[in-house]
Amino acid sequence: MSSSDEHWIRSYGRDQFPHVLVVLGFALYPILLGVLNRTPVASEASAFLPGLTFMIIVLYMGLFAISFDFISGYTGYLSFGHAAFYGTGAYFVVLAANGQVPGVPEGMPFMITMFLGATLAFVVALAIGAVSFRLTGVYFAMLTLGFAQVMYEFIRHWGYVSSNPTEGATIPSGADMSIGVPFVDSLNFAVGRLSGDSFENVLGLGIDISATMTSYYALGIVVLLSYFVMQRIIHSPFGKVMIAIRENEERARAVGYNVFWYKMGAFATSAFFAAIAGALFAAYAGGASPDNSFYFLVTADALIMAIIGGIGTLAGPLFGALFHEWFEDILSTESDGLSTYLEQLLPESVLTAEVAGLTINDFIGTFLDGRAPLYLGIIFVLFVLFVPNGLLGSIRDRLGGTVSKRIPAALERYRR
């Protein structure tokens, strides 16, 4: 498609055009939110747009869902125990921050403990895979789920983690959870819901960057890099063999591939990035508990995100995560959702009006506030039934190729 006399930067830039757009969108979003907050539509903006704290969840859950898609969407092996790796990454950095990991001195930079945790998850995946890849289909899914549940139960009762292991462990205040280049202070940015770095009057431009914003950008860079590594693998010969295994494993064997080791490699790689996601989560949240890391419903969230975004599209799950968290946000009161908005918008007389024994106010409380999981379940079913390829998968089918390949070609046509 690209002519050879064209400068490679131009042709690369054109191929990456949709990626650039998405990255720009994410990068400019906090600024957009900040601007909107100073306009008359401020209340609409905070009601209908996801807040920054939700966007941070989009980042790390998006990465987790992408890693789930890497193995499940590309080899066809559903990793129902993927939370085990997310949990491994999360607990590793928390324990390391507490100086509880043998051989890892207290004060080891987060970037290094994150990498070590991910490497541990890689090894754990090889162990789980060695057993689970003896089976296929639903049996594989059940075996991985079983392993994850064993780890969940173990971690829930492992006194070494903390005095109350069912509640998990926290990162001590003062621990340095910075994203950046290890050992170079000026290139490190502390992340955390409460303890992150904040900057006032950046470069004398009168721009303030809150701790949340620092975390958002710092996590965003790690997620972006992780995505690109996985994307390169998918487009490498190794990735083509993964797809061949998904399409027809028997045939892939008969072509001469030792599919067992390809599956192991793909599984361990996806576990590595799941652990990165878990580590980011723990660093931001300031700790981890069995129920928000090792529990099987964490995998279920990734599954929902992958299905909505498009399984087997790699980038799709990020959009699935965006949809998921946006929905959670507008249906919760945590950061001024739909119900808060309606309560402010509607006059008192309407709110207290009774319809079939319920006031409008009760109705909002019953059917909107915090009801996201209910509607997400319904949406999930609708997607499985009517949009099986998910958001990105459907767009690709419509375009007849990946967005990166098709959009520039389409634009080219219009330019002539």
Partner: protein, 232 residues
């Protein structure tokens, strides 16, 4: 010593005893057809050679070496290619990627690609198309091409004419004849005249054993020993 020798091969699917002692041999550069009714074990014979359904008893020697007990990918890397029934593409890979996947890592991909496109110029035209979007005939071409790029010396071809229009079948026959110049071939084919036209020798299989064999020279479906087994 023959190129490929099967001796008393017994293969089961679970408890079902499908191959009840198949013995046959194939010489280098030969095309051998396996014929017989549906479900008598022709495809299972190919799957047994590939170790996709490993035999429980008997020996399979390829170029004098026992290959029973090897893994499928090892058998493949020994130079045995497979053109499966119903073609079974990697549907979401493009034509080119399908070929690339079939080229062994230490082979020269460019050279192999040129070779395939010179045999099947039609594939060159669709190289960027995903395999699932090809027509049946094009998919069959690709399946045969993919069986050939591994520098395979033995090609196991399963029902190449199945479900194809007569005109397309002619193209596939041409493709197989071209392929046979470089490789030995075991062909499973329901279309009796086609099998006789392509093959040098045939084995007639019934109830999991070889019941007749010989040269295809002058053999027609009216032949008494054939008709007995082929008519339903």
């Amino acid at each position: 010593m023959s190129f490929l020798e099967l001796e008393d091969v017994q293969t089961y699917y679970g408890e079902s005893h499908v191959l009840q002692g198949v013995t046959l041999d194939v010489e280098e550069q030969e095309i051998v057809a396996l014929i017989g009714r549906n479900g008598v074990g022709k495809t299972t014979t190919l799957r047994s050679i590939l170790q996709l359904t490993p035999p429980r008893e008997g020996t399979i020697r390829y170029k004098g070496e026992e290959i029973g007990g090897k893994d499928t990918h090892e058998v493949s890397n020994d130079g045995i290619g497979w053109v499966p029934e119903e073609r079974r593409m990697f549907g979401y890979l493009t034509v080119e990627e399908n070929i690339r996947v079939a080229v062994k890592p230490d082979d020269d991909f460019e050279a192999q690609r040129e070779y395939v496109y010179s045999l099947f110029p039609a594939l060159d035209e669709f190289s960027e198309k995903e395999a699932r979007n090809l027509s049946g005939g094009q998919q069959q071409m690709l399946a045969i091409a993919r069986g050939m790029v591994g520098q395979n010396e033995l090609l196991l071809v399963d029902e190449p004419s199945e479900g194809l229009a007569p005109m397309i079948v002619d193209q596939v026959v041409d493709a197989l004849e071209t392929a046979s110049e470089d490789t030995t071939m075991v062909l499973v084919e329901q279309n009796f005249p086609l099998a006789m036209e392509l093959a040098d020798r045939f084995y007639l299989i019934d109830h999991g054993t070889v019941v007749e064999s010989g040269s295809t020279e002058g053999v027609t479906a009216d032949d008494e020993r054939i008709r007995r087994y082929l008519s339903a």
